[in-house]
Subunit: 304 residues, 2 copies
DNA sequence: TAACGGTATAATTTTTGGTTATGGCCTCTA
DNA sequence: TAGAGGCCATAACCAAAAATTATACCGTTA
């Protein structure tokens, strides 16, 4: 039995479903299924009653759940205590993140992390993907949070998936766009398109998907401007001067307030995978290691 | 982190040595070393100060040790509670053991097990190795405790090493023997030898070692009798009527009281490995699974 | 009865944890 | 102070565990 199995069990017990827990833990459903089986085998007792409408704890399952929560609580306390001991030796962590992640996802994650480890000292660098990779290479940052695919091969870097999101077309809430919720690539080709600069993770990812469809961003599309900032692009789109693409994370507020109209692309998969990237686990300080575990280790998804 | 890592850490902290802990846990020293390393990496902190005269806990190590003990205590309580819930459904365990193990090793092990799981219902069958294997095949017993090598191939059985011991020559505490502590095979060949019956694990193991040296028990040795019981053999040896071989476990009392004189064989390795053998883990009840874990699972050696 | 939501199973790959063999370092002893 | 012995670290290798994808199965529900 290990700590992550206790975490898994608690998550399953909480949401009463293997597949839901799998999603929340960034695992496949069979992984959860087999973990539960192996826990049941370990204790020699059935812990969940399976049915088509989810799963429920058996009486023994309830007992294990109760203790699992207690053990996890204890372990949490242990980690906090270690953290407190280590902070006396000045363990700073410098994280680099791409624009999208750095501006829209990570602030909340760091907040959650600091809630758990109040003494952690974290500095955040937000630059475009390429710059961040250079900084990682030059040891200016400890960890990088970027989107897949990385623009170049970096065999000396370790990568670990952390979360994922969908790329959307964003348009002004006006005439041709406002009454649809999806768009085809053919329509997008004709629209005035604003894109991020070369070196941006989102642009790299977009070009990759296009090239798989034998399309070229600059020749097949009607690119009207390149801009170096998501906020600038959003303002331009809001002003009705064109459409663009960006991660759904980055436009949550604008969608709620209705100033930007999002559209899904019908005929292509625009899934973005977010990665945590680092050079060598051994040379990282404990705050860094804990941060990796916090969001990449099996269990947990603190991208909020 | 998993429960057995906490156990390992506690054992290392207790005995203040990687290699001693390794022996106690039936592991190799590098295994302990690498586990400790991975725990240190997990928490991002050094837990032990290494020196040539053993290891000592660092302050953070002390903290982890304290919590590890608490977590283990909690987990123990959990297992006892599960046990209590399960006993209501009548979980009997029938263990079969070879003569040596059944008479001299297992009683104490069962006692230790019952101390931990007071509600466990265990029945012990003591027969010779061959008979026990038949009983296992016929589902008359759930688990078997035998010595390696098994007399025949049993591909449908799972085996797991549990402990080990040394085969000794036993002689009366008299003239030719009493002033030596070792014996050569050449001397043994000439001595009047009493052996166990065909089908005995000890005899099988002895013959196996001999055949590796191109020797045959019945033609190369002076076998004066075969006997079906260790106690009978011991009495015969005490009476001065010959020498025999048996596991050191079986003659602890006689050695202490001086009625039997043990001799190590100089020119051969007579190591006995004890195994736990079972058919299929899936069909075992929880008491059986827990018993396997109790003595075969990484960590623990309750053969006393 | 077909489609759907949810778990189980199978085949495969990756990761982890174990083993043996070996090396380096400190201490104790002659 | 050289050498032996004890102890931990490292390397190469192997087996077991745990992940993934693909697919089967099985009740509900439309």
């Amino acid at each position: 039995m290990n700590i992550s199995q206790f975490e898994l069990l608690c998550e399953v017990a909480r949401v009463k479903s293997f597949s839901k827990a799998a999603k929340l833990l960034h695992l496949s459903q069979p992984a959860v299924s087999s973990q539960i089986h192996s826990i049941e085998n370990y204790y020699g007792a059935k812990l969940f009653e399976r049915s088509t409408s989810g799963v429920t704890l058996t009486p023994i399952g309830e007992t294990v759940y109760k203790y699992a929560k207690e053990i996890l609580k204890l372990h949490d306390k242990l980690e906090k205590e270690i953290d407190a001991s280590l902070q006396s030796e000045n363990q700073k962590l410098v994280i680099g993140a791409s624009t999208t992640i750095g501006n829209y996802a990570i602030p909340c994650t760091i907040w959650t992390f600091k809630e758990k480890y109040p003494l952690a000292q974290i500095k955040l660098e937000v630059k475009n993907t390429k710059t961040i990779l250079n900084m990682l290479d030059n040891d200016e940052i400890d960890l990088a949070l970027l989107e897949e695919p990385l623009p170049e091969k970096h065999d000396n870097f370790k990568k670990h998936p952390v979360s994922n999101d969908e790329l959307l077309v964003i348009a002004p809430p006006k005439k041709p766009w406002v009454d649809k919720t999806t768009i085809t690539l053919a329509e997008l080709k004709k629209a005035p398109l604003i894109i991020r600069e070369q070196g941006s993770g989102i642009r790299c990812m977009f070009e990759k998907v296009l090239s798989a469809l034998n399309l070229n961003l600059l020749t097949d599309f009607n690119v009207v401007t390149e801009m170096g900032s998501i906020e600038a692009i959003k303002s331009t789109v809001e002003a009705g001067l064109g459409v663009s693409i960006c991660s759904s994370l980055a436009i949550r507020k604008e969608i709620r307030s209705g100033v930007i109209h999002p559209l899904r692309i019908e005929d292509a998969e625009f899934q973005v995978n977010y990665l945590i990237v680092y050079k060598d686990k051994k040379n990282l300080n404990s705050t860094a290691k804990r941060f990796i575990r916090f969001l990449a280790g099996p269990g947990k998804n603190p991208f909020c």
